[in-house]
Amino acid sequence: MKLKQKLKEYWHKLGSPRWFYQITTNWVTFFGGSALLLLVTGFVWALAFAPADYQQGNSFRIMYVHVPAAMLAQSLYIGMGVAGFIGLVWRMKLTDVAIAACLPLGMVLTALALFTGGVWGKPTWGSWWEWDGRTVSTLVLLFLYVGIYALREAIPDADLRARASALVSLVGTVNIPIIKYSVEWWNTLHQSASFSLTEKPAMPAEMWLPLLVMVLGFYCFAGHHVLSRMRLEVLTRESSSRWVAELMLNKNAVDGTPQTSTTDHGKG
């Protein structure tokens, strides 16, 4: 009972821009810092310390960027669907900013998953591209992203753009599992694949640990990315309110802005 009330309170607060801005200040720092740490560790570990696969050799290292990119691409799409749902039901304007932030990142990460997959495929399969369940569903994901992007570009009015993209991301999300499973089913029926992506090799820990680090790093990066964009939008929307004025002018005077601490890790 108490928990429910707490949750409800939290929910209402989420609608308040000021509260959102304040609470996420630390989150952004946290995500940014962790992303920097994890990604640097992950990159070095994956490139230089993880052992090579006894069959695939060193091309196996591509997995450490390919899999996180593919996972994040899907997660960001689901995130857009969730944001779309919240936006449609509760008419929360911030959700559109979340969609707008997830969209380009998800799009390039999907493209990246396709690209790294292709680059991996060349030495492993002997070709850049094979029509297979995973590849097809990733390609479809890219099209869904591009479709929503095109739709957003075509609608000038911000309010309507928000509603339209919320609707489409929601519908698309419902469709994702359907596409995924039907495509995989189709593939197993038609082509008995000479390779299996679905069966996870029993990897030793020194192989999957760096993967875990990379995946977490990617997720933290996405968290940082989406939150910073949402915060900027909140500031812009609220730019004439007192708390923003105080915040911005204060920042100006002190100059040691809380933001810069999170922005340094790009050099890594």
Binding site: D157, A158, D159, S240, S241
Partner: protein, 202 residues
């Protein structure tokens, strides 16, 4: 019953692209009034009417209005269908039985009886507007939202328009009519849209 027909605005203000168009409106118009909506070009008359019709959702404040007939610049007549067929479709939309006798009587009154079986695409601008006028009368809805209904009407038709509006108000209906030319109907309330006092800063 009469209460349901009252049109009421409580500090209603419409926005476009987040910009307030006019100063907040307050109005209570009992059944039987014709509200004449005045304002310069770009004052927000069309936007207000679309808001009342439920076609525009960027507004602040509240309004209370019964389900309405809305007539914008696009008439809503299919050009392949004849006036009678279009009218029958409108009746069907409202799940009413189409009263063809009444429709024909009105067509005769508005001088387009001979065109009742000509596809609407072949009618002139003013003739099409007359067909639309018949549809308002046939509809069961008591509030009419009319955006510049005098457009393209000749002198006769303008007089008919005034008659029809007056009759509708007399029978307890209400009208909100954006126009640049005065209507000559009794019981007219003028609502003037003025720019907002100062752009609200949010």
């Amino acid at each position: 019953m009469t209460d349901a027909l009252t049109l009421q605005f409580d500090s209603l203000a419409c926005q476009r692209d987040g910009r307030a168009l006019f100063a907040e409106l307050n109005l209570t118009a009992p059944a039987g009034t014709c509200v004449e909506l005045l304002g310069a070009n770009g004052a927000g008359k069309s936007t207000l009417l679309r808001t009342l019709a439920g076609l525009h959702s960027q507004y602040q404040g509240t309004f209370q209005s019964p389900p309405a007939v809305y007539q914008g610049h696009r008439l809503g007549l299919d050009e392949l269908l004849t006036p009678l067929e279009n009218l029958a479709w409108f009746a069907g939309l409202e799940s009413c039985v189409f009263d063809q006798t009444k429709a024909l009587a009105l067509a005769a009154r508005l001088g387009i009886l001979a065109l009742a079986h000509t596809p609407c695409g072949k009618l002139s601008a003013g003739q099409q507007r007359r067909v639309a006028m018949i549809r308002w009368v046939l509809s069961g809805r008591r509030l009419w939202l009319l955006d510049e209904p005098l457009t393209a009407l000749d002198t006769h038709a303008q007089a008919w328009l005034n008659e029809i509006i007056a009759e509708h108000c007399q029978s307890g209906g209400s009208v909100v009519c954006a126009t640049h030319t005065d209507l000559s109907v009794p019981l007219k309330t003028v609502l003037n849209l003025r720019p907002p006092p100062e752009q609200a800063s949010w």
